[in-house]
Assembly symmetry: C2
Homo-oligomer: 284 residues x 2
């Protein structure tokens, strides 16, 4: 029987094998290599792929990465490719994290050693604002919903991703009460666990200096807002609040009497790229 290969010289035969080999390589995902022996696959929403092709390429790619001694595999899947999630999970991938527009999956090749994938963000950051006016009154609010409904309390809020703590305190006070302020000092913080979806919380108490005094409260979240004499705020805190709230009220009293020093905020730079960051410390 006539064979196609028999027409080819030996070198041509080799070329043909190499081409076949190149075809197989084409079916392996392009990756970015990280500094820890890992590979990152960035799937593109502009390049849709069907389930079967993705699944087949993923199997082939894992075999290839295993041969190359790779450890961690990251796949970033845009939400537009949500139909591919299950293919990765079938191959043993699990979820590392998700943001609104994508899901990050991970897989660890060397089964004999535990994975070393770094953890994602673990904490939510909150602020409480101690705003004292020239008459010795503190700015307090009552919230419309939540655990503290009906209780006069310091304005509080959540620090956004990418937002500086000192700026978040100023923003929250402005939003909730209309009072413009400037950051003076951070005078304490607490850390607690098993909060929102099991994550941990850090809560920073900031002292702010008011720049205006007429309250213009926000209606959506705030029932009432007013200036309360410091003595009344301190005595209310002793009655019906948590140990932490009482301790914070004590610090507020000490601060009012100028017997307390917290941390100032200083804008500086960090790292090789001289990225801007705030350092909070006692002035030296």
């Amino acid at each position: 029987m006539f064979s196609f290969f028999s027409c080819l010289k030996s070198s041509e035969l080799m070329d043909s094998f190499e081409e076949a080999s190149i075809d197989i390589k084409m079916e392996i995902f392009e990756v970015i290599e990280d500094n820890y022996g890992g590979v990152i696959v960035n799937m593109k929403k502009e390049e849709p792929m069907d389930f079967l092709k993705f699944h087949t390429m993923l199997k082939a790619s894992i075999s290839h990465w295993r041969l190359k001694g790779k450890k961690g595999v990251w796949i970033k899947l845009p939400i537009e490719l949500a139909h591919l999630v299950n293919a990765a999970v079938k191959e043993g991938f699990w979820y590392h994290h998700a943001e609104a527009t994508y899901l990050m999956l991970v897989y660890w090749i060397p089964h004999e050693i535990p994975h070393t994938f770094p953890a994602y963000a673990s904490h939510r950051i909150g602020i409480g604002a101690f705003v004292l006016n020239q008459d010795g009154q503190v700015l307090v609010v009552k919230e419309k919903s939540g655990d503290m409904t009906g209780t006069w309390k310091l304005p509080t809020g959540v620090v956004d991703e990418g937002e500086d703590i000192c700026m978040a305190a100023v923003r929250e006070v402005q939003e909730e009460t209309g009072i413009e302020t400037e950051f003076v000092e951070l005078f304490a913080f607490s850390q607690s666990h098993k909060s929102f979806f099991g994550k941990s919380d850090l809560f920073f108490i900031c002292m702010l200096k008011p720049l205006n005094f007429t309250i213009n409260k926000q209606d959506a979240e705030i029932e009432e807002a007013k200036w309360m004499p410091m003595e009344e705020y301190a005595s209310r805190s002793k009655v019906n609040q948590s140990e932490l709230s009482k301790m914070i009220a004590n610090i507020c009293v000490a601060k009012k009497e100028e017997q307390y020093t917290g941390f100032s905020a200083l804008l500086t730079t960090t790292g090789h790229s001289a990225k801007k960051c705030y350092l909070y410390s006692n002035n030296i």
Copy 2:
């Protein structure tokens, strides 16, 4: 033409409609209602469901929740049900967050107002440990990988979810150098942004008191570890490190000379459930 309905009396016809209506109601997801006009669907890995049934029930459920005036919809999908992710995305859901074992999707019903879903964890927490022995020497390490390879630096590490900052500092020093310590004071922290996967970082500098002095370094991450005279540490920091590192070194010097006060850690309780938490503040 003979009609099935014509055999039924009017009341029977009504019953038959009501049964049909009950059947439709059966095809709506069970939910937990939250305090903000939202509903939470907790899909169970023990109750597998095919794509089509899930998709059909989801469409019916959204119509039902819309009629009831519901706002936010949360669906928690265990990774075992990864084949259902795309059905939710087709209906307009997006990702809120993911942990290793599940994906949380959200959908906002009232299109005329912006969603109010709270953000997930936004920050990673790191610690740096300033450990000073009785000879005025500071504990320093050289790491095997990362940005600071080859530089003598304070031991650093990531605070685990659920871990107290003061405990994390003690753990990291023990893991990297074998030195047992106790927490003394937290004397500064920095906040920076656009770090790991775009999240923000908080980095806390803790002073620890060593309880033993013989270094037994960890080999996986640490190239070298030693006690370095404080003067040498301070002068090295002035030459080749970031502004932030220089400022931290200055605080370390001031602390050594007892001219600096940071925050102590005090175990207390917070909230209605009297959950334990640490308050970090200047002693008053």
